[in-house]
Amino acid sequence: MDWFNAVIQGLLLGGLYALFATGLSIMFGVMRVVNLAHGDLAVVASFLALSMVNATNAPLWVAVVITTPLFAVLGYLTQRILLQRSLRVGPMSTLVVTFGLSIVIQNVLLKIYSADTRTLGGGGFATGSFHLTNDIAIPYLSLATFVLAVVVIVAIQLFLSRTGLGRMLRASSDDPDTATLVGADSRHVYGIATAIAFGTVALAGIMMAMRSSFDPATGPSRLLFAFEAVVIGGLGSLWGTLLGGMVLGLTQSVGAQIDPALTILLGHLVFLAVLAFRPQGLLPGRTA
C-alpha cells in the first residue's frame, strides 16, 4: 500500500510541477527564451506572500489575489524593457540576461530576508487531508494544486484558441515577421506571453511555499524541475508539460520511497533518459 500511496502522491505533486513549468513552457514556445530566473521568481512570490501575511495578518488567498496580477504586470514590463532588447541582440544575450536576473534576485533576497529557511503557513487547508481508504490520505493542498494546474492549462488553451489575442500569440510564435505584417504587434504579444508566464509562476511559488520550506537559494533547483517537466513532456505543448510534471513527480515520489536520498537524483536520471532515447519528449506538440 505504501507504493500505491507513493504513486498517488507523486502524480498529485506532478500537478504542482506542471503549474510551475507552464510559464517556462509558454516563454519557450512563444519567444524561444529559456528563462533562467524562473525558479527565483517563484521564490520571490513565496517571500512576497510571506511578508504580506506577516505584516497584515490577512488570509493567504488575499496574498494570492494581489501577487498574481502584480507578477503579470511585472512580466509584461520585464519583457518590454529587458527581454525584447536582448532578443534583438541574440540568443546568448537572453541567456545571460535571465541568468543575471537570477543572480541579482537571489542575492537581493539574501540581503532582505537572510539565508534562513522559511515556511508559509496555510492553516488547516495546507496540512489537512481526507482518507480515500484507511491507508491512503489525500492532502487537500495537493489535490487543490493539481486541480488548479489543470484549470490554468485549460484556461490558457482556451485563451490561445478562442480569443483574437491568443490567435495573434500563436501566429507570432510561428512566424513573428508574417504576424507583424498582418497586424500583430509582436512586442505587445510577447509581453502578454511573459505576463501569463509570470502570473503562473507567482501562483506556483505560493503553492510551493505552503508545501515545502524555501530560502533565497532555492530557485535554481526549482528551475531544473520545471525544465525537466517541460522537456520530458515535449516542447511547446502545455498538456505535455502536465504529463511531464506528473512523470517527474511520480519518479521523485517513488524514488523517495526507495531511499529519500534518491528523490532528486532519480528525477534527473529519468530526464536524461528521455533526452537520450526520446529527445522530442513524450507528447510533442506545438501549441503556444
Partner: protein, 353 residues
Amino acid sequence: MSLTDTLTSRAAKAASVRRSTRSTRVGGGVLTLVVLILAVLPFAVFSSVTDSLVNLFILIALASMWNLLAGFAGLVSVGQQAYFGLGAYAVLVFAEQGVQAYLAIILAAITAAVFAVPTSWLAFRLRGDYFAIGTWVIAEVYRLVTTRIDRLGGASGKSLTTLSDIDPVTRGALNYWVALVVAVASVVACYLLLRSRLGLALMAVRDEETAANAVGINVPRAKRWVYLISAAGCGAAGGVLLVTSLSVNPNAVYSVQWSAYMIFIVVIGGIGYIEGPLLGAVIFFALQQALADYGTTYLILLGLCGIAVALFAPRGLWGMIADRTRISLFPVGYNLAAPAGSDEPSTGEDQTR
C-alpha cells in the same frame, strides 16, 4: 612553378598577410614581463597577497575555458562545474593512492577529459539554451552521485592530508606557482589551439556553420574536441582549488556559482577574445576585493553589469577596446597589411577577432 605557387607569390608581393601587429609585439612583451613579475612575487610580498591571487588564477583558467567553449565553439554551458568538481576529487583520489598532489593535477585534467567523452554524447543532443540547462542537470547528477560515494566523504566532503608534511610557507608558495602555471597554461593553450587548424575550423563554424560544413569541416568533431579540452582545463582548475584549500565539499565545488562566475567574467570582459576572460577576471577580482565587507553585494553588481553588457555591448569591454584601438594581444585571425613593408594594418579586411 605551378599556377597556385605563381598566384600565391604574386599575392604575397601585393600585400602582406600577418597575424601580429606592432601592438601585439609590445603587448606580448608586457604580458611576458607581468608573468615574470608574478612568478617572483612569493619572494617579495606577504603570503596574504599571493593566497588571494590564487583565486584570481583559478578564475582566469575557468573563464578562459568557458570562453573557448562558448565564444569559439558556440557551446554555452552552465555545467562546467561538473569538471571543476571532478578535478578536485580526482586529485584527492590520486593523492590517496600515493601520487604527489601537485603532479596529480595533470592526472585530474586527463580524468576530466575522459569523463567528458560519454557526457558529450548526451549533452550534444541538445542545442542552444537547452544545451545550457542540460549540462547544468548533468553537473547536478555528478554532484548527487558524488555525495552517495562514502569513500569520497559523502555529502560532507573530505580533506587532503598528503600535503601536511610540507611547511606552510613553502606550501603557500608552491600553491601560488601551481595556480599561476595552470592559469598561464590555459591562456596559452587557448591561443595555440585557436591558431591551429582546429581553431580555424572553429572560427569558420562560429561564423557560418552551414558553409563550414560544406567546405569539409567535421563540425561535431571540432566541437567535441573543444568540449574535452575545456573539461580538462576546468579539471586542472578544480585540482588547484583542492591543493590550496586542502578540503573539498561537493555542494561547494559542484555549485552552479562557478558557472555564474565564468559566464559573467567572460561576458563582461569580452566573449570571443582571448583577452576578454583576462580582463573580466581582473575586474571581477577587484570588485570582489573592494566590496569584501559588504557580503554578496559584489554578486548583485556582477549580475547587473552582466545584464548591461549583454544588452548594450554584446562584445564586452575588450570588444570596445579592440574596436577603438585595434590592439590585439593574442591575434588568432589575420591582418592584411597594404603593400609589403608598411607596418600599418589596412582598415579593410581585418580578422583579428
